[in-house]
């Protein structure tokens, strides 16, 4: 019997579309309950991903996928808050509407009109604010992501700026409000609305992506159009983007004023989101510098004659200055070789060929430093929602 058959069979038994398989490489630092709950599932259009919940779908990319700078569409992670997610039928006849009290007029774009605007392309990392929440010490409640609530793709489409200009931006505009087609199950739950400060919305790199890695966006990654806000965490990267409001007022919605916030001043902020700041907390914005080893993976057997360590590093667009790797649990570090940069918002791949190693276990760690001289801290800066966890990854391999 083929192994494939086994996987399909197990999936059928529990009512999933496909597979459950072992993940010995899942981090031991995740909560026990998460390790039991998480399993590999193959949903339509995707390779097997680590499912943390099926309704709404929260699917994480296995670390093995991060051996290249571009994450394939069928391995790209999936994150939804609300279970009312659109299917292809609901998106039939989709339009993007732009209006608001600080817009000169209301306009609507179909796919053809978006394609008629000047097009731009950018390679950028899309990372959930809560990536690595499950690895936080102490643990905090939320979706308990491991390392894979992120990906990097080539995004293509018109600049948001050009879309906004077609509606006309009045001088009193302060924020751009965003809404997508997904919706809550119960009307009492706040819909997932977000906003951007005007300056960020007008930036060159902020685009309305209509394609991802040269193909239409996968349904679960925001088809037919998704906002791309390079450098900022993906909470702002509205999927199934359907309504844009050019507003003279800050948005007042749970997902902006209560969720996705960090203690004021705890993390570096390049372009502050002042209309949403209060004395205690600020909205999460730019990503912190981070890195990941994707090969070897935890628990793998490696050769004592030496092996190659590969992975990715990224930050919010300052660029990666160096990546250091430790083979002895952080006692000593060596600089890795950086591959060419695909853009300041992209994953930067790195590699390090080790020398010979003594047999036994080796604890690998990785730490990136950005061009703005920020580096990964030894301890996570504790914040209630579990954001910005960039403690150097550690994994154990067996040298044989």
């Amino acid at each position: 019997m083929l192994r494939r058959d086994v996987l399909v069979g197990v999936g059928a038994l529990v009512g999933h579309k496909a597979s459950a398989a072992t993940m010995p490489w899942l981090s031991p630092d995740l909560p026990d309950g998460t390790r039991t709950e998480a399993h590999l599932v193959q949903v339509p259009g995707k390779q097997p991903l680590i499912q943390l919940s099926d309704r709404p779908p929260n699917l994480e990319t296995p670390v093995q996928a991060f051996r290249t700078a571009i994450t394939p569409n069928d391995q790209f992670f999936v994150r939804y808050h609300l279970a009312g997610i659109p299917d292809a039928k609901k998106l039939d006849g989709w339009k993007l509407e732009i209006g608001g009290d600080a817009a000169e007029r209301s306009v609507a774009f179909g796919m053809q009109q978006l394609n008629d605007l000047p097009q731009t392309e950018i390679i950028a990392v899309c990372q959930c604010s809560g990536n690595r929440r499950g690895l936080c010490q102490p643990h905090v409640p939320g979706v308990e992501w491991g390392y894979g609530a992120m990906g990097c793709a080539t995004w293509h489409g018109p600049m948001l700026r050009d879309v906004l200009k077609s509606a006309g931006i009045k001088p009193e505009a302060v924020e751009i409000w965003l809404n997508g087609v997904d919706e809550p199950v119960l009307a009492a739950t706040p819909a997932f609305h977000k906003s951007l400060p005007l300056a960020r919305a007008l930036a060159d790199e902020t685009i309305v992506a209509t394609s991802m890695n040269g193909a239409p966006l996968p349904l679960l990654n925001g088809f037919p159009a998704r906002l791309i806000v390079p450098g900022w965490t993906s909470t702002y990267w509205m999927k199934h983007l359907s309504n844009i409001t050019i507003s003279s007022k800050p948005i007042d919605n749970f997902w902006m004023t209560k969720a996705y916030r960090v203690p004021a001043g705890m993390f570096p902020v390049a372009d502050p989101f002042t209309t949403q700041n209060n004395a205690q907390t600020w909205p999460i914005t730019g990503m912190v510098v981070n890195s990941l080893i994707a090969s070897p993976i935890a628990g793998e057997q490696v050769d004592r004659s030496g092996f190659t360590i590969r992975g990715v590093a990224w930050d919010r667009g300052n660029g990666i200055a160096r990546v250091d790797v430790s083979l002895d649990g952080g006692n000593s570090w060596q600089g890795a070789l950086l591959d060419r940069e695909l853009g300041r918002f992209a994953f930067r791949t790195f590699r390090l060929a080790t020398g010979p190693l003594p047999r036994g276990t080796a604890e690998l760690r990785v730490r990136a430093t950005s061009d703005s001289k920020e580096t990964q801290p030894d301890a996570w800066k504790v914040n209630p929602a579990g954001y910005h966890n960039n403690v150097p990854q550690r994994l154990t391999v067996t040298v044989v």
């Binding site: 069979g9 398989a21 993940m23 010995p24 899942l26 309950g33 709950e37 399993h39 943390l52 739950t189």
Partner: protein, 96 residues
């Protein structure tokens, strides 16, 4: 493929790696039915075991309150108390 074989394979995989287990049903205990009735409307119950076992009774209480006040979960006080007791007993941080 026949069922017993599948079941065998499922078991085998669980023995090899607990991390691969399929989502287990909620453990039996007082309040389980209230949790199943009240906590699966907006999202799957997986949100509960995923968040275990590290939440103190206070935090589980705060989570249930958040579901009611921030997200509008239609749960009355009696049901909320039964749910909190069940979550603390079955999914709470082990007491020190």
């Amino acid at each position: 493929m026949n069922r017993p074989l599948v079941r065998f394979l499922l078991l085998a995989c669980c023995v090899i790696s607990p991390a691969a287990a399929q989502r287990a049903p909620l453990p039996p205990g007082p309040g389980k039915d209230v949790v199943e009735a009240g906590c699966a409307t907006c999202h799957s119950l997986s949100y509960i075991p995923m968040n275990s076992r590290f939440l103190t009774p206070e935090v589980w209480k705060a989570e249930v309150t958040k579901m009611r006040t921030a997200f509008g979960a239609p749960i009355d006080d009696d049901a909320a108390n039964a749910i909190i007791a069940y979550l603390v007993a079955n999914f709470g941080a082990p007491s020190k």
